[in-house]
Symmetry: C2
Subunit: 207 residues, 2 copies
Amino acid sequence: MKRIAESTVRRLSLYLRFLEDFESRGLTTISSDELARRGGTTSAQVRKDLSNFGSFGKRGLGYSVPELRASIRQILGLERQWRVIIIGAGKIGAALAHYRGFRQRGFEVLAVYDNDPRKLGELEEGIAIRDIARLHQDAAALRPDIAIVTVPGPEAQRVVDRAVAAGIKAILNFAPVQLQAPPDVTIKSVNMAMELEGLSFALSNRE
Amino acid sequence: MKRIAESTVRRLSLYLRFLEDFESRGLTTISSDELARRGGTTSAQVRKDLSNFGSFGKRGLGYSVPELRASIRQILGLERQWRVIIIGAGKIGAALAHYRGFRQRGFEVLAVYDNDPRKLGELEEGIAIRDIARLHQDAAALRPDIAIVTVPGPEAQRVVDRAVAAGIKAILNFAPVQLQAPPDVTIKSVNMAMELEGLSFALSNRE
């Protein structure tokens, strides 16, 4: 398959949410125009995004809402459960460990790791905080697919190296640093300050 | 000024971080090639992004690191302090209230709002949790520029309406819902599950 841009994947996630909303309101078909309007994009963009993955919808009839929803779930890999660990039991790590939206989408948080002996033990809702030194041996049994990294910046690369050594191929990074990993490991970074910079840009460049 | 794509603004935020890193390592000039390599993009893209905002650098000599850093800070509106409130004193709201990266970038969290009387009072580090019913009257004194919304989905639109009524023109939304606001209000949404979907896509579409 050709390389798909991150922005395309992001729009697919949005379309999925719109389709779920349409379905909950009893709509059975939807046009690319309506999907585009809802997503603030063009119908040409919607058709182009979907054409990467096959042929969907019928000319003049639009898309079947349940079929397109199922197809996008499959494209995004949401037809299975994903096993997630969080590394870093600070405030953001703890908040994410209990974020209900993950489980609803099939992302199950198995454990939280930290290197602070005072934090090891149980979090609320039955998610254990484990010693990061045990990650490698735990991985054989836990088989985590995804690591969410919420440690401070200076510790993040070491933690990512540990996750990679434990066989994890996908990392969601909240530390405000650039991370290195082998080419078969996907790293996505979330930077809260950058999100606010998008707003300060908008506020500073108003007509 | 012509409309600037969100992806362009995001790359400017990245370039700024690279320039700060170059500067801390004592580099005084940098080529668009080097910026592009660091950001996983092309030098043509770097030049195109910057050309939206003026003329930078000298052909064959590259960019002055301190000058370009200062210019991008100005473009992003980071030469001033921004006044931020957080609405929703749950786990994510509390984590963001203490996120050091905000203050480092000039985003000052003034207060957290909630509607749960049991939560009202003081958070750690001196940030008060105030009654959301007081937002409108508080706004005259606090003059918040940006609201970060971390309430549950079903409450988010009501909270945004309150923020808009209080004169706030920029909203960072963590609730997993689409929000409506007047055209002069900018809303950016962060969806944690969508970030993980980018990874499940990558894991599902590996060669």
